[in-house]
């Protein structure tokens, strides 16, 4: 009989014990049972009161905990996103991490000049095409609100632009029930129909409640729309410590989770079994600048906590962030901030991880940051795979060949090295390990310059498989109001 295989330990970061997870969950339930929440949507209020919520005054409701239990039971524990050609590319199951870009930035770093300027629609296209050509970036978001399209239809325009420039899954923003219906029409056109889209969704809506405990009308319109159509959605509130939420992380988590649970209950009442991606955004409000930090250790810590709570309690895949920075240019801080959140989100097994490529606390997008993150994700992935231990990797035969074999034997020449080095080592593409002289000969570039060149190369060379003219014309008609 052969000996049993030695399983590979894949490093996994835990930041909460069970008692902590349960205590935060209990606090979240206490918030919605005892403090309540402001629900401005009449239909949502009616659904909630019919299900057992009590009305405190006009639009202020309280929710019994059993509604949460019901919703957690009916919401699917796995969400699968497909690409736009119907391939299963993002199975959000267990601790599978997938990285993607962000949305709604006002500025971008111009790839030619390096200058910060307002976002235009062409930038949305460039980010989508770049992501299409990057192996480790699994989904796209718009990365910006362009100034050259009418603001009332801004999310329709950016969605159409993403569809034209990538086939990867899309996480999209909408303003209200009005534009989300048109975005949905575009998505159906791409997928080939409503039923096809429901079966193989390539999109997920990102909407936000407002901390503390406010659920605006337009946001609930979108939530109910998605629940009814089976479009996956996440509903993080900005329960940032010291901003929308208490300054202490436990309280901020409890509040954000409470808000998510209310959203989940409305969602499951409107569309039982529809997919809901769990989790608030819990960063910090910086106590000097009052910006919401995109590079702080706290956000990485709270989403790691959320992953633990997913495993202990909720059983729903979670929303997260990584690969962003508060730095204004892609400097050493940007690299440090980005890597901190990328490796920790992977080690803690967050699921759908957005905001890759942001600078300036999410106000500026950078193609170079996305390119850098692509490599940092690969690096983190290598680390997270762990160390396979077996006869092949222990390599005793190779050791023997080199140690006591023919004189002059070296590992570099051994067949074992040739056969294994591609898997056994992380082979960087942009991180520089060249000898000083060759680095100098190649132009003494820093990582920003190399990422800039790589971004330009991909934009020039990468071919996105185009949609048919018929689909593209159909999309254009919808964008133009048809």
């Amino acid at each position: 009989m052969k000996p049993l295989k030695i399983p590979t330990f894949q490093p996994r970061l835990k930041v909460l014990n069970r008692e902590q997870a349960l205590a935060i969950h209990a606090a979240a339930l206490e918030i919605i049972e005892k403090i309540g929440f402001k629900m401005e949507h009449r239909d949502a209020r009616e659904m909630l009161t019919a299900a057992g919520c009590s009305v405190v005054s006009s639009d202020w409701l309280k929710m019994p905990a059993y509604l949460v239990e019901d919703a957690l039971t009916s919401a699917p524990g796995q969400i699968v996103l497909y690409d736009q050609r119907g391939n299963k590319t993002i199975p959000l199951i267990n601790g599978n991490p997938f990285y993607g870009t962000g949305s709604d930035a006002t500025f971008t770093l111009d790839v030619e000049t390096g200058q910060r300027r307002r976002v235009v629609l062409k930038d949305v296209a460039n980010f989508a095409r770049l992501v299409d050509g990057l192996e480790n970036i699994a989904f796209v978001m718009s990365m910006g609100n362009p100034e050259d399209v009418p603001v009332e239809d801004i999310y329709i325009h950016v969605f159409a632009e993403m569809v034209r420039n990538t086939n990867k899954p899309i996480v999209f923003i909408a303003d209200s029930g009005r534009d989300i219906a048109r975005i949905y029409k575009i998505a159906c056109r791409v997928a080939g129909g409503e039923e096809e889209l429901r079966n193989k969704p390539f999109l997920l809506n990102y909407s936000e409640a407002i901390s503390p405990l406010r659920f605006p009308l337009n946001v609930m319109d979108k939530l109910i729309f998605c629940a009814q159509k089976g479009v996956p959605i996440c509903l993080p509130s900005g329960s940032n410590a010291g901003g929308g939420a208490p300054v202490t992380l436990a309280g901020a988590l409890a509040l954000g989770i409470a808000e998510n649970l209310v959203g989940l209950v409305v969602h499951q009442l409107a569309g039982k079994g529809s997919p809901f991606l769990f989790g608030p955004n819990v960063s910090v409000l910086d106590m000097k600048s009052t910006v919401v930090s995109y590079g702080c250790p706290e956000w990485s810590l709270t989403q790691a906590a959320l992953a633990d709570m997913r495993d202990e309690i909720y059983g729903l895949p979670i929303w997260a962030y990584a690969g962003a920075s508060d730095a204004k240019v892609m400097d050493a801080q940007a690299g440090a901030d980005a890597m901190f959140s990328i490796i920790s989100s992977m080690l803690s097994r967050c699921n759908l991880i957005h905001d890759v490529g942001f600078l300036e606390y999410g106000s500026t997008s950078s193609l170079e940051m996305v390119v850098m993150a692509n490599e940092l994700i690969a690096m983190s992935r290598f680390f997270t795979e762990g160390i396979p231990v077996n006869e092949e990797t222990l390599a005793l035969e190779a050791i023997e060949r080199v140690a006591v074999g023919e004189p002059g034997s070296i590992f570099l020449m051994d067949d074992h090295t040739f056969e294994h080095f591609m898997q056994a080592q992380f082979l960087p593409a942009l991180l520089d390990r060249s000898r000083y002289d060759s680095w100098q000969e190649a132009g003494s570039t820093d990582l920003y310059q190399r990422c800039n060149a790589e971004a330009k190369r991909i934009l020039a060379e990468h071919q996105v498989e185009a949609k048919t003219d018929e689909v593209l014309m159909g999309i254009e008609r919808i964008v133009q109001g048809g």
Binding site: T106, R118, V151, R214, T290
Partner: protein
Amino acid sequence: MSDLKALIEAVIKGDIKSATVETQKALDSGNNAQDILDKGLLVAMDEVGAMFSSGQLFVPQMLRSAKTMQECIKVLEPFFQEGGAISKGKVIIGTVKGDLHDIGKNLVSMMMEGSGFRMFDLGVDVSPERFVQKTQEIEPDIVAMSALLSTTMPSMRQTIEALEQAGIREKVKVMIGGAPVTEKYAREIQADCYAPDAGSAVTKAKGLLDIL
């Protein structure tokens, strides 16, 4: 007359209890309310503002100082002369129509109040009509608007147009701010000023009204 050093220190520290005691002491020893405000509380707040700008204080500490000053003003209030200048100017502030975000707006409001402005907070989801109506009613020096969402920014332009149509645009200065708002946008819609954060909102508001 006593000097106000202990009061100034207590306000800078955000020690509400000591500050109100010192305010009472200053009154008891013959200082008039206006002097206590001008040479005590506002001097302290200027110092707090300077310390914040140079990175020596954090926002919660500055807001505690502002709260401390407000508590001291409550002690002084009965003693102000008719028409006593307790205000650098009147400001109405609100988050524009369709937008329910208020953290930034509240922070601006508190910081401006802390520096001596008289604030009238209209809350969130404030329509152009309501801004106009309140401007007519309160006759402020400044109308301040906030928006967090790109999609609600057009309401800033509509509010400025509504002020024009009501014939009161020239009577007020208009300030705007919020995450998606830019200097360029402020120029486009002919706002008088754009402030990127709460600290600069105070400085810029003073600039608009020619207050040092």
